[in-house]
């Protein structure tokens, strides 16, 4: 199975939602990650045939399906909202694509029980969707999508409306299920942690454009642009202004050796993930930022310390464990230059990376 998007463009209400998307996907799971309004759903709808693109082609297994009606395509779609047929039982819900495809009754029955077992709703087949919990409703929707063998399976943020325990459980199930799927499985999410967990080939989407395609762990370790770094960082990146001066980069009174040779006077953006900011000096070559504590959010396993720097900028430090601070107190934030990503001021292109912050392949 192979899915090719060739110059797909979508304009709606005078705005361009997708800019000439070129993508080639093969069977198995691909993660589509991007912030809200990045065009994930639009892209999925184009692939599924629910939205005709204004330009470009959708090619499945070498066949141009752009003009083929959604009823005749071999696709399945799972929405973020739990979409089931309320008047039909869970069994009939799962069976309905098979019925429409005129599966023999025996095969249909076997298949429905099979996918229901996989999704862990085997004992709920007689119920109506409204009698199920949110997690079970979404399992039903996924089971219906799995029932019929399709060329392309689309899952549009299927776990976003579930509470976190169910989400993690179902995420694990889906990861196992789709890894070796014969279909092209496109899974969209706004949650970078989800993309990283799936560790499958990943497409980063932003403002209707493909920002990067590749292995998500590489992208996380070496984000090619600021937008990719921001998309894959949760909690959000800390951004600080810097300027190149004689082989060093200066930032709010501190400086460190520039990772590459760049012209003096050039403005750059420094990006640091919150968990790389500490309040204990960890080495000799670290940057120091005197700061005032504004707020400390304790989540239990972590403490998010919101700091205000000398120039009024905010810096968030993600510290391990429960730590108590008094707002208004003064402290010093330390950042190891090795963990700073340097982007140029205009295009967000990474000038040079410091040493990879973690060895994700190890």
């Amino acid at each position: 199975m192979a899915l090719v998007l060739d110059g797909v463009r979508v304009r709606q209400r005078g705005e361009t939602w997708l800019h000439d998307i070129h993508l080639e996907l093969s069977s198995g799971m691909t993660t589509l990650v991007g912030p809200m309004a990045a065009g994930k759903t639009t892209l999925m709808r184009v692939v599924g045939g629910l939205l005709p693109p204004d330009a470009g082609r959708v090619v499945v297994n070498g066949k141009d399906v752009t003009a083929i009606s959604v009823r005749k395509r071999s696709v399945a779609f799972v929405y973020q909202q739990f979409i089931n047929y309320p008047s039909l039982s869970v069994y009939e819900n799962i069976a309905s694509p098979l019925r429409m495809a005129r599966f023999p009754k025996k095969d249909m029955d076997r298949r429905v029980h099979e996918v229901a077992e996989i999704m862990g709703i085997g004992d709920l087949l007689d119920r109506r969707p409204a009698e199920l919990s949110g997690g079970q409703q979404q399992r039903t929707a996924i089971a219906r999508a799995l029932a019929r063998p399709v060329d392309v399976l689309l899952l549009d943020e299927p776990l976003a409306n579930l509470d976190f325990k169910l989400r993690e459980q179902l995420r694990g199930d889906l990861k196992d299920m789709f890894r070796d799927s014969p279909s092209v499985v496109l899974y969209s999410t706004a949650d970078p942690a989800e993309a990283l967990t799936f560790a499958s080939p990943t497409v980063v989407l932003g403002e209707g454009r493909v920002l990067d395609v590749g292995e998500v762990a590489d992208m996380y370790a070496q984000p090619p642009t600021l937008a990719v770094a921001a998309t894959l960082s949760d909690p959000p990146l800390n951004l600080l202004p810097g300027v190149v001066r004689e082989g060093r980069i200066e930032c709010l009174g501190s400086s460190f050796p520039s990772p590459g040779a760049h012209a003096s006077g050039r403005n750059v953006v420094l990006a640091v993930r919150p968990h790389q900011v500490t309040i204990e000096r960890s080495g000799s070559d670290v940057l120091e930022f005197p700061a005032e504590i504004r707020l400390a959010e304790v989540t239990g396993s972590e403490t998010f310390l919101h700091l205000m720097l000398a120039d009024g900028r905010h810096l968030v430090a993600q510290l391990a464990g429960t730590q108590l601070f008094t707002p208004g107190e003064r402290t010093v934030a330390y950042v190891d230059p090795a963990h700073i990503f340097v982007f140029d001021d205009a295009g967000g292109r990474l000038l040079a990376t410091s040493a990879a912050e973690v060895d994700l392949h190890g």
């Binding site: 929405y79 309320p86 219906r144």
Partner: protein, 280 residues
């Protein structure tokens, strides 16, 4: 979340000391004319015109016997039931696809057309009397059940579209799309998936169509003479040489309420839900 709020509101609602008494007083005030009419229908005429008494002195079923044996009465009663039912079914058959189109598709002038539907209800029915009369005379619909049913559709279809569209728009489009992906054809999806989802809307719509058609007198009387004459028209003609037949009139009144009461009984849950959800 909304459900929780309702639950909280329900818990917070306190019983007012006089609530029960006020309710019964109100109910009695509403019911009095109905009970009085029922009382009249089971009394002989002399007693109705004689001295005032709360409880009937003598009871008789003569009025009901007359009603169901005199063809003028029972046939007009049947006429009303026939054209009202026809109208409700026909209005629904026309309004369901129309409402679906308004709810799901965008087409040139859709918003104007939708508003125009409503403006139809702003014109007084009398405006349409003459055109209906003349047209019906010439096409042979005059004094037929079908004719009255069609005439009433002029008012009921816009109303039905309006009510149904409100409900349909409350159903996520993703259901339609999922069905299309599963391979359902539009008619099959509509009958098997969509219609069951809006059955309370259908109930509410049927009720409103029935009600408007049942109580409408002006048009129904103008475009009928004998064969499709409505019960309400017959009721206006009870004055004879012997004076007004009060008992029979009251009997017709009681029987006229019954079909409405039956329809209400069947759709009462839907109507309550309809008021809560849609555009009623």
């Amino acid at each position: 979340m909304a459900g929780e709020q309702v639950a909280v509101a329900r818990r917070a609602r306190r019983q007012l000391p006089w609530a029960r008494a006020v309710f019964w007083l109100y109910a009695a005030t509403l019911m009095l004319p109905l009970l009085w009419m029922f009382g009249m229908s089971i009394r002989p005429n002399e007693d109705i015109l004689g001295s005032f008494s709360l409880i009937p002195q003598r009871t008789t079923l003569d009025n009901y016997r007359t009603f169901f044996t005199d063809p003028v009465w029972y046939s007009s009663y049947l006429n009303s039931i026939i054209y009202t039912s026809m109208n409700a079914v026909m209005s629904l058959i026309v309004a369901l696809p129309a409402a679906y189109a308004f709810s799901r598709f965008r087409f040139a002038g859709d918003k104007h057309l939708f508003f125009w539907l409503l403006t139809n209800r702003m014109a007084p029915p009398a405006v349409f009397l003459l055109p209906f009369f003349q047209i019906y005379q010439s096409v042979g619909l005059f004094d037929t059940h079908l004719g009255v049913a069609i005439a009433h559709m002029l008012f009921n279809v816009p109303l039905a579209v309006w009510i149904l569209e409100g409900f349909m728009s409350g159903i996520p489009r993703e259901i339609d799309e999922t069905a299309a992906i599963d391979g359902y054809s539009l008619p099959r999806f509509f009958l098997r998936i969509f219609l069951p989802m809006i059955r309370s809307a259908v109930g509410v719509t049927l009720f409103f169509c029935f009600m408007f058609s049942w109580v409408e007198l002006l048009i129904a009387r103008t475009i009928t003479s004998v064969n499709a004459k409505p019960i309400a028209a017959t009721m206006t003609r009870t004055v004879s040489a012997a004076g007004v037949d009060w008992g029979l009139l009251a009997t017709a009144g009681v029987l006229t309420i019954i079909p409405g009461a039956i329809v209400i009984w069947f759709v009462r849950n839907y109507v309550a839900k309809g008021f809560a959800l849609g555009r009623v």
